[in-house]
Each structure stands twice: as C-alpha cells, then as structure tokens.
Symmetry: C2
Subunit: 114 residues, 2 copies
C-alpha cells in the first residue's frame, strides 16, 4: 500500500462530508473554478474554499490560479491511490462476508443432516 495511514485519515475524512462528495462529483464532469463549484450550495464562498482546502489536503484535488480565478481539478495521483485502497478495502469486506456466508451455509448443511 503506497498511501499511508495518515493520508488515509485525511482521505476518508474528506469523503465524510456530503458537500465535499458533491464537489468531487461535480469535478468528475471536468475541471472547474471556485464560483462554479460553490453555485449549487446554499453556503458562503469562504465555506466552499474551506472544503476545497480539505480536499486538497487529502490530495484529492489541486488548485491553480489562472488570472483572478482558481481552477480546480481532481488530482489523479493521490485519487488513484485512494481508489485503489478503497477497492482493496471493499474486496476485503467482500471476501470476509463471502467467508461468513460459506460458514453459514456449512452450518445450515450440518443442521439439515441432524
């Protein structure tokens, strides 16, 4: 695993807020800027800037100035690692539950043999 525990704290922390998940979803449609990202939310501009800072801290997005506007885009490198970890985690649960399922089926089998 390339991504370390502290980074993972930040990534999951960033994803634990609906506004930030919404921003990520919007950015999936393509690069944007702060004003456009803020538009859907009934929230002040500074609040959105704070959310962007959290996403940036988690390495999920990056910002760059272009004139007076700040362009925002997802940051593939870190997001890829997060996605890989999340997928790994999902697979981990899946395997765990598959195993539980098998145990339960086994138990049902044994019970039927009584």
């Amino acid at each position: 695993m390339v991504i370390d525990s502290k980074q993972l704290d930040l990534v999951f922390g960033a994803l634990s807020d609906a506004t930030r998940r919404g921003i990520l979803a919007d950015l999936a449609k393509g690069e944007s800027n702060v004003t456009a990202l803020a538009a859907p939310y009934d929230m002040s501009q500074p609040a959105i800037s704070k959310h962007l800072r959290v996403l940036e801290g988690a390495g999920l997005i990056e910002r760059s100035k272009t004139g007076r506007e700040t362009r925002v885009r997802v940051k593939p490198d870190n997001a890829q690692e997060a996605a890989a970890w999340i997928t790994h985690y999902a697979r981990f649960w899946q395997q765990h539950f598959d195993a539980v399922d098998q145990i339960l089926q086994q138990q049902r089998k044994l019970q039927n043999e009584d």
Copy 2:
C-alpha cells in the same frame, strides 16, 4: 443506492480514524470483545468504547452483552452496503482515470497468484 448520504457521512467518518480501521481489521479475524479489541492500543478502555460507539453508529459493527463481556462483530448488512457504495465510488474514479484500470488489473493478477 440504498445507503443514504447521512449514513455515508457516518461510514466515512468512522473510517477516517486509524484506531477504528484497526479495530475493523481485527474484527475481520472474527468476533471479539472490548478488552481484546483494546489490547493493541495504548489507550484507555473508555476511549475504545467510544470508538466502538462510532463504528456502531455507522452501522459497521454491532455489540451484544454476554455475561459481563460485550461481544463485538461486524454487521454484514450495513457494511455490505458501505462496501457496495465504496465499490461504486471506486468504479467512478476508474472511469475517469485510465491508470486505475491498470492498477486494478495488476491487483487481480497478484491475487490470482495466491
């Protein structure tokens, strides 16, 4: 999506702490109790109880009293939904970043070699 946004806040919030991720990892090895779960951590018992409450609130684990001890186990129903969402999320990223596909294929390859 069965799991709603507020539940997702709680799930990601729960996963945003290394201690809680560690507890989930330990529980993957099987059902446990509070004392056993607390053992690996340099932290008081009430602190662990708090973490367990957060995991329970996110629907990732469930607790039940057995005598004087509290048995703790992962709660398949909600955790599966979370895993499903996470997988969906991972797929979402995958669609946007070509390289993710390569990483996942690499992982699949490595797993098949087990």
